[in-house]
Amino acid sequence: MVEKRVSEAVLLKAMSTGADYAELYVDDTSSDSISMIADCVESANTSRDKGAGVRIFCGTNSVYAYGNGTDEQSLLKLAEKVAAAAETAKKVHVDLVLKDVTFEPLCRAEIPASSVDKKIRVDALKQAYFAAKEYSPEIVQVSGSLSSSVKRIYVANSDGVIGRDERPYIRLGVYAVASDGKENQSGFVGPGNSAGFEFIKSLDLAAQGKEAARIATTMLHAGKCPAGKMAVVMDNAFGGVVFHEACGHALEATSVGYGNSVFCGKLGQKIANEKVSAVDDATMKSEWGSRAMSDEGEKTERIQLIKDGILTGYMIDKLGSRRMNMRSTGSGRRQNYTYAPTSRMSNTFICAGNDKRDDIIASTENGLYAAKMGGGSVNPLTGEFNFAVMEGYMIRNGKICEPVRGATLIGKGYEVLLNIDMVGDDLVLGQGMCGSISGSVQTNVGQPMIRISEITVGGEIG
């Protein structure tokens, strides 16, 4: 996307006022989205977003500038802007030799979504949509979307690396609303992958639509969740959002590197029940959160975060690496050129254990079974998190009983990790978008079925 000669000139200019690292980043994203509501195609949008960012480091401080122009003149102007803002004024002699580094792609679109006739894409969306709509007369509204994009990335940095990556994404979303005329309840499914249209072809589209509708109608007939402390069995897949929020964010250099995490200085220490092992793995083929190259031009890795309850690793980007005096784990990510990169999760999950699903439920006398989780958030400093239960059921005498709604799980990450006392053998990943200081990025959460011996459930006071 950029000539080597131009990249060199930009990096040298950016470092001309004393910066000790410079990076040029260009991305060019083409996206397509089709959305349905009220039984018809409501909107369709095609967009192209291209821009560039130049970043420099002066020790552990950073300066960033971005713009939409990607021609030589515009890029040099960005370099001038960052150089002007560098606090040191000393001239440093810089030897810069840029070399192309090849990153073997992990994710390929076998059938690029944009090559598929829009009518065929609409038909696929309709299959899922109408399966939800026709599930029950109680389903009063459905909205659906099919979005796809291809992001092309170019990175050149003063470590001498020129790297390129191409990332296809595709995702289906079905949101169903059930109503009895007095109250509404909703259900959602959103399967996605870093792949092409072949992923949509591999899905049972009707089953996806029905699942969204099933959750909505089940919740319409659910009573309110009782509040208080109780045991919670959390199912696999998107249940992993608990780990993502409660622990994952506090293991990112963004918080650890500034001493703002409860897990600072705890490497080698026990932070979780010994049944818990967890990883962040960007190297999985075609997964939603995968990529071969970090957004800082480094090879990505599988990072063992927790091994048998012991803290073994953090997710670290280049700037975090400087602050922490630890090597970067290739965790630098950003939504696009409008954000400077920082340490982010990719595919982050609790590894499979040895407990059986049936045993986990059967051994829980009383509690809440969280079948499907909604989203959540966390304060990494205090570890306080919250997240919503989209589909929940009470457990009594080791049996799953009536559905309940309106439950929220709240607690502190480090407490919950110690309270995970059963870990199932059925690991599944679930797709989400994670928002943080470097924007919104594709992340997989995941886990097998787990049990938390005690956690505060927010709901209705009886």
């Binding site: 949008n45 971005y66 709240i410 927010g458």
Partner: protein
């Protein structure tokens, strides 16, 4: 900016020459600045400019969209073709509009000339000052997590084949500080924020006091026993609640069965003391603008008056469907987004009492000062919420100990009916939607889940 206008003109000319139908260009460009300070040094610094162009075409009654950030002429044919292709698959039968323009426009003040004189150095110094003041405010404050100043300038241009030619430029400055308090092994952070359109808004002491108080007060905060109790939402927390649920006033949501307010215009939906007004015409409101995303002139709209729903919020499409006029609430999430509906400056009417007086009226209960996890724990369609909260217990009418780790749950539609009294302490939301709200006292007890 004139370059962007010229480019918009070129797109319209190309479309005129190469395809039929009505069409419109919505373009935005601007600058943004951000500096974050730590230990009296610049931690991150960012200075940017951006431009984005959205093109839409109405063909056979259907509207197709395409957008781009690449402003070279070679890109124009594919931009127009993409919008055309998208129009061809639209099925929605609702009448769509490329608007020729309102009869007249009133320009509220949205540009603070004084901000042009504040240099980058001054902004950096201000961020350093915020940090210094926060750390010196109390011995328990060990550092700040961030001390940040942001500012920006944005221009919106709408031009179309029916003669519309509009342009508006706005700017802002804001700053926030996150002090961290420590006592033994306990740590806690607070959040102080300021913002506006002139130098006078840069009141470091006010933001520092807000952040430091919160950081220290909640160091010793504990959960409380689960109970059903009376609640006051402090002004900022109720702003967040209104923002989360403001979509229920959208006619689009109502027409799609996604708001329980559908068909309730003219009915009582809230208690007597609730009056909600949307007004894009006020000077220096964060949601002020001369025209909305479809080019409809801004106006003042009373949405709820003394508890009665007077009107929902409309854009051209939903207004046509309902047989009413647009209320000037068409919006775009970003330049690429299709037209939706959102509030401009949305304000809950204030009463007479201070927060302390409201607490006295309540007697026993809890003041909620912060709700979090709104994107997950609140369902805008159902009105249900269950939110992680912080606050203070109220005993004998007096503010008591700090509480955290509790959730407050209920339903927003019910909450509107149960507002007993609103305070006199109006807070203006600075990020997200421009919501203003005083503190509110809720009449019926609510579920507070803790230990």
């Amino acid at each position: 900016m004139s370059e962007l206008k010229d480019f918009c003109e070129k797109i319209l000319t190309y479309a005129k020459e190469n395809c039929g139908g009505e069409f419109e260009v919505y373009a935005t460009n601007g600058e943004s600045f951000r500096v974050e300070v730590l230990d009296n040094q610049i931690k991150t610094y960012s200075v940017n400019d951006y431009a984005g162009i959205s093109f839409r075409i109405k063909k056979n009654g259907k509207m197709g969209y395409a957008s781009t950030t690449v402003t070279d002429e070679e890109g124009i044919p594919s931009l127009v073709k993409n919008a055309n292709d998208n129009a061809a698959i639209i099925e929605n039968p609702d009448e769509q509009f490329i608007f020729p323009g309102s009869e007249s426009y009133t320009q509220p003040k949205v540009y603070g000339e004084e901000l042009d004189d504040i240099s980058a150095e001054e902004k950096i110094e201000f961020a350093k000052l915020l940090e210094k003041k926060a750390v010196e405010a109390d011995e328990k404050i060990i550092k700040v997590e961030t001390s940040t100043v942001i500012s920006g300038k944005k221009t919106v241009i709408i031009k179309n084949s029916n003669g519309m030619d509009l342009c508006e430029t706005s700017n802002y400055i804001a700053a926030y500080v996150v002090p961290i308090a420590k006592d033994g092994d306990k740590m806690n952070d607070g959040f102080g924020i300021l913002g506006g359109f002139d130098r006078a808004c840069l009141d470091a002491d006010k933001a520092v006091k807000q952040g430091v108080t919160e950081a220290i007060d909640f160091l010793d905060a504990k959960s409380t026993k689960s109970a059903s109790m009376r609640v006051i939402f402090r002004n900022n927390a109720f702003c967040d609640m209104i923002e989360t649920f403001s979509g229920i006033f959208s006619s689009d949501a109502a027409q799609r069965g996604l708001s329980m307010l559908a068909g309730k215009e003219g009915e009582k939906i809230a208690s007597d003391c609730v009056t909600l007004t949307d007004d894009s015409t006020v000077d220096f409101g964060f949601g002020s603008r001369a025209f909305d995303a479809e080019g409809v002139a801004g106006q003042k709209t009373v949405v709820v008056e003394n508890g009665v729903l007077k009107t929902l919020l409309y854009n051209l499409k939903t207004a046509h469907k309902a047989g009413v006029k647009s209320t000037g609430n068409a919006s775009k999430g970003g330049y690429t987004s299709p037209i939706g509906i959102s509030v401009n400056n949305f304000t809950l009417s204030s009463g007479k009492k201070t927060l302390a007086e409201l607490a006295e009226t309540m007697g026993e209960g809890i003041i909620i000062t912060e709700v979090s996890g709104l994107h997950a724990g609140a369902n805008a369609v159902t009105g249900d919420f269950s939110l992680l909260s912080k606050g203070y217990l109220v005993e004998g009418g007096k503010k008591g100990r700090a509480v955290n780790g509790v959730t407050v749950s209920g339903n927003f539609y019910e909450l509107l009916k149960n507002i007993e009294e609103t305070g006199c302490d109006v807070y203006h939301n600075m990020f997200g939607e421009a919501i203003s709200s005083p503190s509110v006292l809720i009449s019926a007890p609510m579920s507070i889940a803790g230990e």
